[in-house]
Each structure stands twice: as structure tokens, then as C-alpha cells.
């Protein structure tokens, strides 16, 4: 019912003017009215509360319990509650229980415009019913589906203790005029049939069916009702099982399946493209919903139908390719931003599978998407997917290494390192001096994993990085690479670092890490250097602390070397004056001997 007709109806059948007093009204218990009014007020308040608090919120529960108690009390005391609905008012008898002229807010108006004219609550009303009722009346009309109104929604709930009456649309009353047989027709039919005449000849098209009927009639003579009529236990179990399965059926998957079936039938390009467009619209919707499972299925269909065994015409295959391009275009990919930036992204399990189905045209927009994502998990999935997508298209990514957004650059470096193609080393080497340490760190990690010695040689450059953590990482990486025989001159580079003018000012942790790296790769070659450090005398108290640090670092390096020659150097340390150093040497010797034993 539209607004206009509702209003017209209001002016005629259900006028909002005062009603003449009736005997019942006069006798109506004032206490009953007070109770009903309080109930309705509380109901309005509760519907508002439910919009704010979720079901599991204690306030929600408190309101529901109280609402239940109020209904229970009223219905038990007065046997029921029958409310008349007017355009802006709810009435009990002739008394106004509730009035609100705001069309947006008024419960009366919402009920009225959807055709409800009387609403009754009956004794025995259950909390579940109250909950369902509040759910229906509390729904914003904007949220209500176009095909639903209050009446259809209340009907679907199938209440036992809530009833309503709806205004009948009298304008559309229709009578069926059935044709009476001409006089004597029945008698004529009787005469023919009781004499058992043969069937009239039928049209050619029906011959087969008629024969089928005759054949069946013969068959049926041999059938008992059991065969055609009675359901067996197995029948019942099977149908019940199917009904259950039907409830769980994935309707969207069904739709995709149906549209796929149609695509295989529609040879005409125009009709074919129409169905492809429908699937594209569906895909758009799936993206907005963050439903990557079904989104993935749609693109899979576009791929699958191109396979030669499907036998589609070339032009139709082209349309499918275009559709995949469309899905990977900037506009479509950008739409992922909103859904992936939600606090809780639901369908991440299928995001990767969805993304890797795109064509290479998606790589650039996906790179931009990387810059828009706030959440770590989807960003990681996106990077992993881009590894797959850009495996053979690294130049698309390396072009983006100059992006001014450092976080995008870092992600690209990560992706390139995962792709693991040596040819990107030169592109990455340009980032060794990048202003953002996160990028430099990522580049360092990339050099660590990229194949070939060229990448490893670049690791040395990071020993001079301005950031301690990067220098440490570089030292560790170098040691690992040198052990693998991939970098020449590592020992020299590390020694140079230690002997460099800035090394003394580094913190102890970094120093230890560098000596440790040196110990890993140096072997007996570095023993003279370590002996020298251990035995070096300090004349100025001012430098005593730093020297002690270096000696301890040397002990760490010697521990790493752990050859008998290295142990001998440590034993020489037992004779030193510095008690701390002596003790450290003794401890390491003990540890090494225990390990060897």
C-alpha cells in the first residue's frame, strides 16, 4: 500500500478523528489502560535500545527480560491486549495509548502504512515471540527489503500469541464467472459416456502422449496403490534428507552454476555477452560483500569456459578474456580497498585464490591497493598473490620501485624477493641508500634470498648503513652467505668494519654481533687479530671500559672459531690481569671442553 492510498483509506475507513464513546470504552478499567500504556511505552523504548545494543549485551538482555515481565503481567491480569492501529495512534478501546506524528519514527504509522489495523497479544506470549516481534517492528524501513513490509515479515514469523488484522483492498474484489454447460449438455454427455464411447481422435502431436496413457493404464492394472501412492520409510527418509540439504544449499553457487550452463548454451554473441555482464555484476556485488569465495568461482568460470573442450566460439572466448581483464582493472581492484580495510575481513581464506586468477593487467592496480590497505593480514595475502601474478612480469613491479610511498616500495621488494628472480638485483641495488630504513631492510633481506653471488656482494654495503639493526643483519647475512661460499672477502670486510673509526662508538650488542659473524667465517685466520685485542694494554682509565668490551667480543669470536688453536688463545687469556676477562676465558674454555667431551 502506498502512502497516498494509506492516507486516503485513513480518511475514509479508519479516520483519525475522535470516536464516539462506546459502553465498553466507558467501562474500561483505568488500571488496564495505565498498564497497557506503560507496556507500549516500554516497547518503544526497547526497540530503540535494541538498535544500539547487540543481543549479547547485558542491557539488551535486561530490556528483553523486563519487556517479557511486563507483557506477562498485563496478559495474565487482563487476558490479552488488543490494540487498534490508526495512522499516527495506537488505541486501546477508544483511549490513545501512543501517538507520534513523525512518519519516520512513529510505530503506529509504520504499522498503519503496511496495512495493519489491529494488533493483539494473547496470554502465553513467549519471550522468543517478543524478541521476533521487536525484531520486525524495530527494523528501519530503509533496511527492509523492497519486497517486505511489516505484514509479510510478521506473517513469516508465524506467531502463536500475536495476531493482527490487515486492511483488505476492497477495490480489487473479483468474482469468478464459471461457465455453466448449455441446457441438456450434461444429459448428452451422460448418454455418450454411460454407453462407454471410445476416445475422440486426437491431434498428431498428442498421439505419443495418448499412447503413453493407454500403456500406463495397462501397466497400472498390475500396480497396487503401494507403487504409485504409498510412501515407504525409505522415501520419507530420502525426502527429509533432501529437504535438509536444500536448507543448506548455496544459492549463490547455484546461480553461478546456472549462468555457467546458460553461457554454454548461448552461441549468439549478444546473448552470450549479456550473461557475461550479469556475472560481472554479480562479481561486483561479491567484491562489495567481501565474498571472495563466490567471486573466485565467477572468474574460475571465465577461465574454465575458455578451455578447448568446452568448444565455445572464439568470439565468445574473447568476451570471457575481456571479462577477466575487466575484473583486474583499476576500478574493480580499487573496490577491494573498502572491504579489506574492515576491522574484520570475513573471507580471507579465499582472497588469495581469487586474486591469482586475474590477468597481468591487475598487477599495477594491485600495487596501488597495497598502499591503501591498513590491515597486515590482507596485505600479506595480497603480496603472496602478487608473487604468483607477477612471476613472469617483474618489470611491471620494478617500474614501481621509484614510488614515493616507501611502504609500497617495501612491499614490492618483498614480492620481488619472493619471486626470486636474479634479474631484479640491479633494480634493487638502487635502493641500498633509500631514505627509509624499512625499505633498506627489505632490500637487504631480498639480497639475502635472491639467487646468485651478485646479490650477496651487495650485502657488504649494508655494513656501512646508518642504522645499527641493518648493520647487524648485514653481518649475519654475510656470515651465512660466506659459509655457503657465496661471498668472497667477508672476513676482510668484517675486519675493516671493526677497525674502522666508528666501530668503537657502536653499542656492545652490535659489536658482539659483528665479532660473532667474524668468528663464524674467520677460522684460524683471525686468531692473531683476536690475540692482539686480548693482550692489548690500556693506559688510560678513560678507555678501559671500551677495551674490556672489545676483549669480551674477541672471546665471543674465539668461542665461535672453537679450533684447538682458538682454545690456546683463550688459555693465554687466563694469564691476563683483568679478572673479568680471565673469568670469561675460563668459562668459554670450560664450555668448549664440555661440548667436545
Amino acid at each position: 500500500m502506498d502512502l497516498e492510498s494509506a492516507e486516503q483509506e485513513g480518511n475514509t475507513d479508519f479516520g483519525t478523528g475522535p470516536h464516539p464513546p462506546q459502553a465498553d470504552d466507558l467501562e474500561m478499567d483505568k488500571e488496564e489502560f495505565r498498564s497497557a500504556k506503560e507496556l507500549i511505552q516500554f516497547l518503544i523504548k526497547t526497540t530503540r535500545t535494541f538498535k544500539i545494543y547487540l543481543y549479547n549485551n547485558p542491557i539488551h538482555q535486561k530490556f528483553l527480560t523486563e519487556m517479557n515481565a511486563k507483557f506477562d503481567k498485563h496478559l495474565t491480569t487482563y487476558g490479552g491486549l488488543k490494540i487498534q492501529v490508526q495512522q499516527h495512534k495506537l488505541l486501546l478501546g477508544n483511549e490513545v495509548l501512543y501517538e507520534n506524528t513523525s512518519r519516520m519514527e512513529s510505530l503506529a504509522f509504520r504499522l498503519y502504512i503496511d496495512g495493519i489495523r489491529e494488533l493483539s497479544f494473547h496470554e502465553g506470549l513467549e519471550q522468543g515471540e517478543i524478541m521476533s516481534f521487536l525484531e520486525v517492528v524495530g527494523k528501519d524501513s530503509s533496511q527492509t527489503h523492497l519486497d517486505d513490509d511489516m505484514t509479510t515479515l510478521l506473517w513469516e514469523k508465524g506467531f502463536s500469541h500475536i495476531t493482527y488484522q490487515v486492511a483488505k483492498d476492497s477495490a480489487q474484489r473479483v468474482e469468478i464467472q464459471a461457465v455453466a454447460p448449455p441446457p441438456g449438455q450434461l444429459t448428452k454427455a451422460f448418454m455418450e459416456e454411460v454407453q462407454a464411447g471410445e476416445e475422440q481422435p486426437q491431434s498428431a502431436a498428442l498421439t505419443e502422449i495418448r499412447q503413453g496413457v493407454r500403456a500406463t493404464e495397462q501397466d497400472l492394472q498390475n500396480l497396487t496403490y503401494q507403487n504409485v501412492y504409498a510412501l515407504t520409510e525409505e522415501d520419507i527418509a530420502k525426502v527429509k534428507h533432501e529437504m535438509q540439504a536444500e536448507e543448506e544449499r548455496d544459492l549463490l553457487a547455484e546461480m553461478i552454476q546456472i549462468l555457467t550452463a546458460i553461457l554454454q548454451i548461448e552461441e549468439d554473441l549478444k546473448n552470450f555477452e549479456e550473461v557475461v555482464r550479469i556475472l560481472q555484476d554479480m562479481l561486483d556485488l561479491m567484491i562489495r560483500r567481501g565474498d571472495f569465495y563466490h567471486g573466485r568461482r565467477i572468474i574460475e568460470v571465465f577461465w574454465e569456459l575458455q578451455s578447448p573442450e568446452k568448444g565455445l566460439p572464439e568470439k565468445n572466448k574473447e568476451a570471457l578474456k575481456t571479462a577477466i581483464d575487466w575484473a583486474g582493472g583499476a576500478e574493480r581492484i580499487e573496490k577491494l580497498t573498502a572491504v579489506l580495510n574492515l576491522e574484520e575481513v570475513k573471507d580471507l581464506d579465499h582472497l588469495y585464490a581469487y586474486l591469482i586468477l586475474h590477468h597481468k593487467n591487475a598487477i599495477d592496480p594491485l600495487t596501488d591497493l597495497l598502499g591503501s590497505l591498513k590491515n597486515m593480514k590482507p596485505r600479506r595475502i595480497l603480496c603472496d598473490a602478487m608473487v604468483e601474478l607477477a612471476r613472469e612480469e617483474t618489470e611491471i613491479l620494478t617500474r614501481r620501485l621509484k614510488d614515493r610511498r616507501w611502504y609500497i616500495v617495501r612491499n614490492i621488494v618483498y614480492i620481488l624477493s619472493k619471486i626470486g628472480n636474479e634479474r631484479v638485483v640491479d633494480d634493487l641495488s638502487a635502493l641500498i641508500q633509500h631514505s627509509e630504513s624499512q625499505v633498506r631492510k627489505e632490500v637487504l633481506r631480498a639480497f639475502e634470498v635472491l639467487p646468485g653471488s651478485k646479490a650477496k656482494q651487495h650485502l657488504v654495503k649494508f655494513l656501512m648503513d646508518e642504522e645499527s639493526s641493518i648493520r647487524i643483519l648485514a653481518a649475519r647475512s654475510l656470515a651465512q652467505s660466506a659459509l655457503g661460499g657465496k661471498v668472497a672477502g667477508t672476513v676482510e670486510h668484517l675486519l675493516q668494519t671493526i677497525e674502522g673509526s666508528k666501530f668503537n662508538n657502536r653499542d656492545l650488542y652490535e659489536k658482539k654481533e659483528i665479532f660473532d659473524a667474524l668468528g663464524q667465517v674467520g677460522g684460524n685466520v683471525i686468531l692473531p687479530f683476536m690475540r692482539k685485542i686480548l693482550k692489548e694494554q690500556v693506559w688510560f682509565k678513560l678507555h678501559k671500559g671500551r677495551h674490556e668490551e672489545l676483549k669480551l667480543c674477541a672471546i665471543i669470536a674465539l668461542k665461535r672459531v672453537k679450533t684447538p688453536e682458538a682454545v690456546n688463545v683463550l688459555k693465554e687469556g687466563l694469564a691476563l690481569k683483568n679478572k673479568n676477562i680471565r673469568e670469561a676465558c675460563a668459562r668459554v674454555i670450560g664450555e668448549l671442553e664440555t661440548n667436545q667431551g
Binding site: 494473547h122 517486505d148 513490509d149 505484514t151 509479510t152 510478521l154 506473517w155 508465524g158 502463536s160 495476531t163 493482527y164 488484522q165 490487515v166 486492511a167 483488505k168 480489487q172 473479483v174 468474482e175 469468478i176 464459471a178 461457465v179 454447460p181 449438455q185 450434461l186 444429459t187 454427455a189 451422460f190 448418454m191 455418450e192 459416456e193 454411460v194 462407454a196 475422440q200 502431436a205 502422449i209 496413457v213 500403456a215 500406463t216 497400472l220 496403490y225 504409485v228 501412492y229 504409498a230 510412501l231 522415501d235 520419507i236 525426502v239 533432501e242 529437504m243 536444500e246 544449499r249 544459492l251 549463490l252 547455484e254 546461480m255 546456472i258 550452463a261 546458460i262 554454454q264 550473461v275
Partner: protein, 486 residues
């Protein structure tokens, strides 16, 4: 004001909880009777059903605050005055219990609060072992109950059979007709909107289908009877509504809840929405289709999918309608059209719609075949295709709905009178004994409307006084059987 209102949910919403308990009660009572048939009243085998029954009765008492009663009234079971819906799950026990009641001319059983296991055992054994052929069976049973000292269970006699026609008020019939015709009109409006690619609102259709569901749950015969009407001017749309009603009748047997019934009804009513694009000259062509015309006709399930997705989007209801429409010409074995290149599991909605669509098309005068089949012939033809074109279980359920002599069949009786089947017999072994409205006497003179229940036995001869001897093609004789339903 009351005059311009129609009742909302109360009439049509039996207390679900009582209904559920009632269903369990009847099922357990049936099990108890079956067990008592082969075991003595003191046998341990009766313990479990007796215990279960007592537990259900206890639940029912606390739910309703009254004693437990079972009533049988004209093929309907009431537990504590709540009418129970007969669905596929309870079908066997319901039918059996109704039959046991009828055999003994018993209308009700009253279980008092103090009912106990001992009385239940004795009652079940007595009831099932007392020969119902002893006359009068009710009195015999009642006397035996007293003799056995069963004090916590009382029985009451069956009320005299009411005339079928008087059960359905004129107002109910008018409301049903009005709803039917308004639905026909709504289908035409929606089809027109689809044709013009205008937005489609299903709100009105939903309301009407909900009303049809309520009517069907309340009085299936009246609403099913309307499907026998042949409204030639609006054939295409009336066919859609008929398909909707017949589909919902199957859905009701399956035990669908109101919401699912409504969805099935809408899906069935709009199954032919793709025909909005088929030129009228083809739709209404009085002769057979050419190959080219068939080609166009066969596209309508596909066109329906395309239109509805575009106009209605992808909410659950729209998708169910779309799927039903797509599948309605696909056979159970996946033959039919559109031709599929890959296998698919047809939905229950699709299979139901396909079945009832075929039936209504065969019995109508305008779709595909130009001469309608009499209902029983149509059903027989369809039975020959059961398991190939149609789901065999749904086919059985459909025959259950319509009877072996379906509603609207024109029949000749053994007495020489002619009549129209207006109500089927729900009992499987009496499927050939429906209720028939006489339209001629045995001399062929027109006669006004006496209704005979062919399942009634003449107590004097202990035989059926009326049986169907043959069916008649009403269309061949220009007889509009639908008029006997309005």
C-alpha cells in the same frame, strides 16, 4: 470495521509447540498400537512407547494446562484442540491413527491427568484387539474399557459425518476466489513489468501468496479446487497461479514451514516469467508450434533467469524464484530444456514446479497440447514418466494430494450417476474412494450437488454403495468442472 478486515495470523498459526508435541504424541500412540498388535499388554516391549507417551502427555499438560485429548474430525487430527498438520514425516502414523479411529467410529480419546502406564497398556491392547467389525464398534470398545477398569482414559463417539459442502462457508470460498483472481492479476502485472523492463516489486505477490498459504493450511480442498477452473482470458497467468497452488500443496505434504511454503509458492507462480518475452501470437497460438516457434518457447527458462537477476538482484527469495524458473522444464533425468552440458542436482523447488507445471499444462486447454487431458489421464501419463521425467517420490506425494481420481475428475459411478471429484481421500488404501459431487442422476438428468463419500460402507450390506466405474473427459463434452468448486 470488522467487515473490511481479514484475519491475520491467529487462525492460521496453531501453537507450534503444541503442534510439535501433538505430532510426537500421535507418532508414539501409533507405535504403541503397532506394538500392542503383536505383544501382550504386560509385555516389556510396550514399556518404551508407554513411557514416551506419558512423557509427552506431561509436556502437553504443562504447556496447555489441560488434560490431553486426541480428536479425529473428517481426516484431521486435533491434539488438545490444535489441528495437526499432516506432513511427510507424520504421514504414516497420522493416516493409521485416523483409520483406527474411524474403524471404531471413535471421535476422540481423553487422557485424564492421572493416566498411567498400566491403563495405557490395557487401553492400547483392548483397542487394537477388539474386532472393529463387531457392531456397534464404538459401544463395544467403550464397554470393554469399563470392563477392564481403565478409569483414566475415556473415549467419545465420532460425530455424524457432515456434508462436505456445508463445511466450507460461502465466505471462505469467496475469499479464496478473490485471492485467486487477485493473484492472477498480480502475475499479469509482474509479467507486464518484466516485459517493459520496469522494476518489479513482489510485495503484493508475497502478501497474496501468504494468504494462499494460510488458506491451503486451513482448507486445502477449496483452494485446490480453484485450480480446476479454466480461465481462458487469462490462461497464461491462471496457469502460473495454479502451479503455485499445486506446488504449495506438495510443499505442505513435505512439511515445509509457512515461510518455505510462501517461497515455494512465489517461485512456482513466477516460473514462467521468461514468457514475458515470448510474443503473444506464439503464446496464444491456437495450432501447434513450428520448429522456430518451439525454439523461441524453449528459451523462456533462460530469459526468466536473465530478467529476474537484472530486475530483482540476488536476495534469497529472488534466487529461489530464478532457480525454480530455470529448472521447471528440466526433467528428473536432466533431459528436457534448456539442454545442459554439465550435470546438476535439481532443487526440490524445481522438481516440484516441473511436476505440477506439467500436470496443469496437460489438464489445461492451452499450453503445448491443445486438447486438455482429463485429470486422471494426465496423472496416469505422468506416472508413466515417474523416475524419468519426474521425481518418483514427489510424484507419489502429488498423487497423494490429488488422489488417483484427482480433484475435478468427471466420473461415472456404479449407480449410473455422474459426478465431479471434489475431495480426495487421504487414506492410501482408499485412494480410489474420494468425495464426489453428483451432477446427474442415473437417468442423466441434471442434479444439484449432493456430495457422496465413496469411502463410506453401507452398514447393512457391509459393502460400498458407490464406486467409480469410469472417468469422463469433461472437456470433450464442454463441461467446465471448475464451476462445482465455486
Amino acid at each position: 470495521m470488522e467487515g473490511s478486515l481479514k484475519e491475520g495470523s491467529k487462525q492460521h498459526s496453531p501453537n507450534e509447540k503444541i503442534a510439535q508435541l501433538g505430532k510426537r504424541l500421535i507418532n508414539q500412540f501409533f507405535i504403541l498400537l503397532k506394538t500392542a498388535q503383536i505383544h501382550d499388554s504386560g509385555n516389556v516391549a510396550l514399556s518404551q512407547p508407554v513411557e514416551n507417551l506419558l512423557a509427552i502427555m506431561q509436556e502437553l499438560r504443562s504447556e496447555t494446562g489441560t488434560d490431553v485429548s486426541i480428536q479425529v474430525e473428517d481426516d484431521h487430527i486435533f491434539v488438545n484442540e490444535t489441528k495437526l498438520k499432516m506432513d511427510i514425516e507424520g504421514f504414516i502414523s497420522f493416516i493409521a491413527v485416523i483409520e483406527e479411529f474411524k474403524k471404531r467410529q471413535m471421535g476422540g480419546i481423553h487422557f485424564k491427568t492421572e493416566v498411567n502406564g498400566s491403563d495405557l497398556r490395557k487401553f492400547a491392547w483392548t483397542m487394537i484387539h477388539l474386532d472393529p467389525k463387531q457392531t456397534p464398534p464404538f459401544q463395544m470398545l467403550n464397554e470393554e474399557i469399563i470392563k477392564q477398569g481403565i478409569s483414566s482414559i475415556e473415549i467419545e463417539p465420532m460425530e455424524t459425518q457432515k456434508e462436505v459442502v456445508s463445511e466450507v462457508t460461502t465466505d471462505t470460498k469467496q475469499t479464496a476466489q478473490n485471492t485467486y483472481m487477485r493473484t492472477v492479476s498480480i502475475v499479469s502485472e509482474v509479467m507486464e513489468s518484466v516485459k517493459l523492463r520496469q522494476s518489479v516489486s513482489l510485495r503484493k505477490s508475497k502478501r497474496l501468496v501468504q494468504t494462499l498459504v494460510d488458506m491451503l493450511l486451513q482448507d486445502e480442498t477449496t483452494i485446490l479446487g480453484l485450480t480446476t477452473l479454466r480461465i481462458h482470458d487469462e490462461y497464461t497467468y491462471a496457469h502460473c497461479v495454479n502451479v503455485g497452488i499445486l506446488a504449495m500443496a506438495i510443499g505442505q505434504r513435505l512439511g515445509y514451514n509457512r515461510k518455505r511454503l510462501g517461497e515455494l509458492g512465489l517461485s512456482a507462480i513466477f516460473h514462467d516469467i521468461g514468457k514475458a518475452d515470448v510474443p503473444l501470437e506464439i503464446l496464444n497460438k491456437p495450432s501447434e508450434f513450428t520448429e522456430e516457434e518451439w525454439k523461441i518457447m524453449r528459451r523462456h527458462p533462460i530469459l526468466g533467469v536473465k530478467h529476474l537477476i537484472k530486475l530483482k538482484g540476488l536476495d534469497d527469495l529472488a534466487m529461489k524464484i530464478i532457480i525454480g524458473g530455470f529448472e521447471h522444464h528440466l526433467n528428473y533425468d536432466l533431459s528436457g530444456y534448456p539442454k545442459l552440458n554439465t550435470k546438476r542436482n535439481l532443487t526440490l523447488f524445481g522438481r516440484i514446479i516441473s511436476l505440477v507445471d506439467c500436470y496443469d499444462a496437460l489438464t489445461s486447454s492451452r499450453v503445448y497440447n491443445r486438447i486438455p487431458f482429463p485429470p486422471d489421464k494426465a496423472l496416469k501419463f505422468m506416472l508413466s514418466k515417474s523416475g524419468k521425467a519426474f521425481d518418483p517420490i514427489l510424484m507419489k506425494i502429488f498423487v497423494n494430494c490429488l488422489g488417483i481420481y484427482p480433484l475435478g475428475s468427471l466420473v461415472v459411478l456404479s449407480t449410473g450417476e455422474m459426478g465431479v471429484v471434489i475431495q480426495t481421500n487421504p487414506h492410501p488404501d482408499k485412494a480410489d474412494r474420494p468425495k464426489v459431487k453428483l451432477i446427474t442422476d442415473c437417468q442423466g438428468n441434471e442434479k444439484e450437488g449432493q456430495v457422496l463419500d465413496l469411502s463410506l460402507i453401507d452398514p447393512n450390506t457391509q459393502s460400498y454403495p458407490h464406486s467409480i466405474t469410469k472417468t469422463v473427459d469433461a472437456h470433450k463434452h464442454g463441461i467446465e468442472v471448475g464451476r462445482y468448486f465455486i
